[in-house]
Symmetry: C4
Subunit: 213 residues, 4 copies
Amino acid sequence: MSNTEHEAADRHLHRLVLFSDAVFAIAITLLAIEIHPPEHWHGVADLFGQMGHKLWAYAVSFAVIGVYWISHRRIFARLRGANGVLDVLNLVVLGLVALLPLTTELLWEHASGEATLVYVGLVAAIGVAMSVVWGYAAFAGELAGRVHRGEALFTLARTAVAPGLMCGLILFSLNHIWGLIPLALAIAAFVAGGRFMRRRAAARIDDAEEAAA
Amino acid sequence: MSNTEHEAADRHLHRLVLFSDAVFAIAITLLAIEIHPPEHWHGVADLFGQMGHKLWAYAVSFAVIGVYWISHRRIFARLRGANGVLDVLNLVVLGLVALLPLTTELLWEHASGEATLVYVGLVAAIGVAMSVVWGYAAFAGELAGRVHRGEALFTLARTAVAPGLMCGLILFSLNHIWGLIPLALAIAAFVAGGRFMRRRAAARIDDAEEAAA
Amino acid sequence: MSNTEHEAADRHLHRLVLFSDAVFAIAITLLAIEIHPPEHWHGVADLFGQMGHKLWAYAVSFAVIGVYWISHRRIFARLRGANGVLDVLNLVVLGLVALLPLTTELLWEHASGEATLVYVGLVAAIGVAMSVVWGYAAFAGELAGRVHRGEALFTLARTAVAPGLMCGLILFSLNHIWGLIPLALAIAAFVAGGRFMRRRAAARIDDAEEAAA
Amino acid sequence: MSNTEHEAADRHLHRLVLFSDAVFAIAITLLAIEIHPPEHWHGVADLFGQMGHKLWAYAVSFAVIGVYWISHRRIFARLRGANGVLDVLNLVVLGLVALLPLTTELLWEHASGEATLVYVGLVAAIGVAMSVVWGYAAFAGELAGRVHRGEALFTLARTAVAPGLMCGLILFSLNHIWGLIPLALAIAAFVAGGRFMRRRAAARIDDAEEAAA
């Protein structure tokens, strides 16, 4: 790529991030907009009693969007440019994120198993869409600079599976306390796997540099 | 232009893009805000049955705004600066984009031919407004650097016509399956025309550079 | 100022602009959010007949915020830095701009002389707040680089008076056609005055440079 | 840190600021969205009479978010980078800020002592969350460059305590005029303490530079 093309790719990436950040920020702030104080309440305890389930759903969804924003930030921090395919794949992620306020409403209005299923389904779908973004950038689109194949595949799998699994296990643990055990195991596996993979990737790149020297 | 003027024009352009991105992001996220879960529903299938037409309209409008954001990004990536006229023309585009959430509501509440007409009319109007932005930047305002006349005219025509035509044909195909034929032909024509024009533009610029050398 | 201080002032200014742009963009996009399609309508003409006054109020307010965004952009393009006082004065402008969606609702629901009065009053108040921003930056805060005193004072007066006056005259002209005469005169005066002042400012700076040479 | 790591930390910080600004901007603009004009009103005085308490609550909350935005800007202007912990701590701040529109509604609908308590409680909680961000950045995360220990601790305490205290005293003063006395004393103490600490910090850094020379 020439210098001008580099600059254009960088500008493209910058604008894509700008746009994504705005959508994430709006979705996360709109979570609270459908929550209204109750008509009648007596004392602070009663207020929280009446609003507790809504505030709880708000906190869960805020955490979900927050985690996805961090995930999005990490993926895009590794990219060197953007193209039209990335635009479209990223739009799919944003289109699903923008549905979270609506699905949060579902969660607090109908605290049923099926509402939870729809909610976890959406969270899982965002994870899959995000992993498609990363998979395209790392493998097909060559937008991510030098990448260690194993580490990139692990990131792909973790991005696709972790959010839905974690969110499902957390909501499951509310009713079945032993759900915390697989939750703890899953977190440990993702953290340990991530460290192992980063170390392997660093070693491989060192090898490559030594070989080149 | 002096260096300071270059920098000022660049800052102007940057701020215009920033503002436009925010409006696009808000419009695209607000699409979902008027969608609420139904009062009563039994099972996931029933939920999607009741909400299907809204989610469908949401997906269509999300795609429309997404396509226009990509189109806006492409046009502005070719600009070298901005001025007051571009500010105003761009505001017209944004003012029409901000009406899409309202028109989407129309689409799902009154799934009539006339609601579709209003919707496609707005989509077409945004396309025309966007092509005016490009036409001004490329021809009158001299904001787009060196431009190949034929390629710029083709871009102008495609920006003006394609979104309304495509959107109309897609919605038409929902009821009349043979509408997919002109849709496929239109897409093929736009893609082939775009490639041909880019090649001609590249050749002409090479010629100019040879002549200059 | 040292280099680091220059950079810090520049970052401060950049973030202030970022924040302001987001508020402008949200206010302008929210204008349409309280507009909903009517329950019953027969044909496109009837739809526009029922929604006409809302769309009209939307267009007016979109133009008002658009004009103020352009005005804000122009003022901030002349600044070299920002400080805490500018933060606060700018917040006052944004706080008034964020009230425009609410006041637009007033305009379409109660198309009375008094609703118009409140609306024009808010528009005028934003103009005054904006001129305070400019006045502080140019005279007290020394944030605007080298400034020609007469030109800066003219900009101050125009920023304070023009938007309210123009908006009032436009809404007045809807009922009293001869209101277009003072409107045309006012526009001519502002444009001619602006040109004259810019020419004088350029001449004075040339003189200063000659004297310095 | 290598050059690339510096650049990556800078980009991370930039994106965190971008996202935070968008959330602040949306929260501050949404404050007005639940305010609607009354159904019936006779004259401007009556309109303001009916809407006065809402506009007053709007102004208070706008000032609160404005003050926190300024506080956020100041803290982040001192940072040299960002990391995952800062992301999470910052998200907590934003999650509380996004609850302000809802709590403002509470304030105007139930102008009781307990509604005020909840409101002041949220304002105080944001202050504490913000001071955790600063405390982490300055002490644990080493994200703030060279910092004078005393000055950083004073900033920590002021960020945690000032907003809740001031907001409480202002709302208290509405009913008990003598509340203005502790308010004035608190402001004087914060301003004087801030100046003293900045002077001490500057002196200590000069000493360090002399010792190094």
